[in-house]
């Protein structure tokens, strides 16, 4: 009787061990891995952080258009001082990289193009692009715009001093007067000054025009600010 009891107890215990032991081994395996990899966790996590994002990547080549044309007198300006319109930075929708946020028009050159924030492939495929390291119109600094010379900026070849360039955005319309043109090497750092304290527009494209091939020369068109609402940064900076 007691022998039978003993056998049943053994069988029961053995049956359990086939479940408990594998679970203990599983936990043990991951603990060993944890302690073995612990010194390189930060490197592994930072590598994973670079490789993986929170959501699936969007591969569409569509762009977002945030440009809504406004008439000259209906800008979002809050103030008028010394004949200049002012606008709070909080009131404007700052464009994200790849957004179409305006239009660039030089009537004398036959240019009327979509203006994008950023000068990536999608932007230059559909219009002209503002270099994201430069500034948006109204900011009081340098606006650097690029375009292909065989497509949207082909008309720049007709640019001359005194002509007017207009940038239309959702927060106001800006006017610039062309002050000159120049041909410079693509790596010439003196071609523009991104740290300038006055608002100025620099447009550039490859040079020479209508030639087959790639060149290391760029055609620059310089223009100075004439009119358009000035973005007031003080309210945001003071916060």
């Amino acid at each position: 009787m007691s022998e039978n009891k003993n056998r049943r107890r053994h069988r029961k215990a053995d049956g359990k061990s086939f479940i408990i032991l594998p679970i203990i081994f599983f936990v043990g395996t991951y603990l060993v891995l944890y302690f073995a990899l612990a010194p390189s966790f930060s490197a592994l996590f930072s590598a994973a952080g670079m490789l993986f994002s929170d959501s699936e990547k969007d591969y569409s080549t569509d762009y977002k258009n945030i440009f809504v044309p406004v008439s000259d007198d209906s800008a979002l300006s809050s103030d008028v001082k010394d004949g200049k319109q002012y606008i709070d930075i909080d009131k404007i929708e700052y464009p994200r990289y790849g957004n179409q946020f305006g239009e660039l028009i030089i009537e004398d050159c036959g240019i009327e193009n979509k203006l994008f924030f950023g000068d990536g492939d999608v932007a230059l495929r559909n219009g002209v692009g503002l270099y994201s390291g430069s500034f948006i119109p109204g900011y009081g600094k340098t606006i650097l715009v690029a375009g292909h010379n065989n497509t949207y900026f082909n008309g720049l070849k007709y640019a001359q001093e005194g002509q007017t360039a207009v940038i239309r955005t959702s927060y106001g319309n800006y006017e610039y007067k062309i002050t000159g043109t120049a041909v410079k090497k693509s790596n010439d750092k003196t071609a523009y000054d991104l740290k300038a304290d006055n608002e100025n527009l620099v447009m550039y494209t490859c040079y020479p025009f209508d030639e087959l091939g790639l060149t290391s020369y760029r055609f620059f068109v310089y223009a100075k600010y004439v009119s358009g609402p000035v973005i007031q940064k003080d309210s945001a900076e003071g916060e």
């Binding site: 069988r11 032991l21 599983f26």
Partner: protein
């Protein structure tokens, strides 16, 4: 209930530790086998590319990039419409993978691409009667196009982790042999040291079941959570290829896990039969 003698308890503890080591080695062996069959295998990578439509997607991507180059250099969109084809991409990718795994570096040979581009350019110039072509500008265009082609075909993770992958690949046969040897030695010790052989079978069965659970957890987590789909790759073709290859690798690990599970269950039944024999 009588207490077991100390020697017997120590023996049991030693067998348990050996069983755990066996489980751990089986776990590592599974990953080593799957790595050898997938990441370190150019055939697997190439077939995953084929199955994920890699070459068709790549052709579209390269055509778009070259068309953008055309906008900057005065070439028509039509020039690039059928300029690159899947066969050219497939051949160059195959050479790239073969050279890479042979340790000849990550350089992609774009010689044939450059030649075709040069010939097509000559024809284009003749067709359109273009006279103002500067030799230097033309050379820059060809080099830029070849650079775009090379950059598009390269697999970024391969060049970044090149030394690790190649070192790991060269060590892998020794690692596999080492793991198999450790498993054999542990099984041998368990059988030799146990008077009652069914106990050895029990330890091995538990090790196999433990390894099965351990190996299954990671791929199940990756497949269910969808983490793999959040990888940040600039190229859609590369993204589809990565998802296909990594999912296949996860499924391969799950198959190994299933195999270990079946071995574990088989050994459990063997144990029961042996135990019944002993106790009768």
């Amino acid at each position: 209930m009588a207490k077991k003698p100390l020697v017997s308890r120590i023996r049991n503890a030693v067998f348990l530790i050996l069983s755990f080591i066996l489980s751990l080695v089986l776990f590592l062996l599974t990953f080593a086998v799957v790595l050898t069959a997938t990441v370190f295998n150019s055939e697997f990578i190439f077939s995953s590319m084929n199955l994920s439509n890699y070459f068709v997607d790549k052709k579209d991507e390269i055509t778009v990039s070259l068309t953008d180059l055309g906008y900057a250099s005065g070439l028509d969109e039509k020039f690039f419409e059928d300029f690159v084809d899947e066969v050219m991409i497939s051949n160059d990718t195959k050479n790239y993978l073969d050279n890479y795994f042979a340790g000849k570096g990550t350089v992609i040979d774009a010689t044939s691409f450059k030649q075709s581009f040069n010939e097509a350019l000559d024809e284009y110039i003749k067709e359109h009667n273009i006279s103002n072509v500067d030799a230097e500008s033309r050379e820059m265009l060809i080099n830029k196009a070849a650079q775009i082609y090379r950059m598009s075909l390269g697999i970024p993770m391969f060049s970044r982790f090149s030394s690790y992958i190649l070192n790991a690949k060269s060590f892998m046969p020794f690692v596999l042999c080492g793991f198999v040897l450790i498993c054999t030695v542990i099984c041998f010790v368990l059988f030799k040291a146990n008077k009652w052989k069914h106990r050895a079978v029990k330890y091995i069965s538990c090790a196999a079941l433990g390894a099965a659970v351990s190996t299954a957890v990671l791929p199940v987590y990756l497949l269910i959570s969808g983490k793999l789909t959040h990888i940040n790759l600039a190229s859609r073709a590369l993204y589809n290829f990565f998802i296909k290859a990594s999912s296949d690798a996860c499924v391969a690990i799950l198959f190994c896990s299933l195999f270990l599970l079946l071995v574990g269950i088989g050994l459990y039944f063997l144990f029961r039969r042996m135990y019944q024999k002993v106790s009768s």
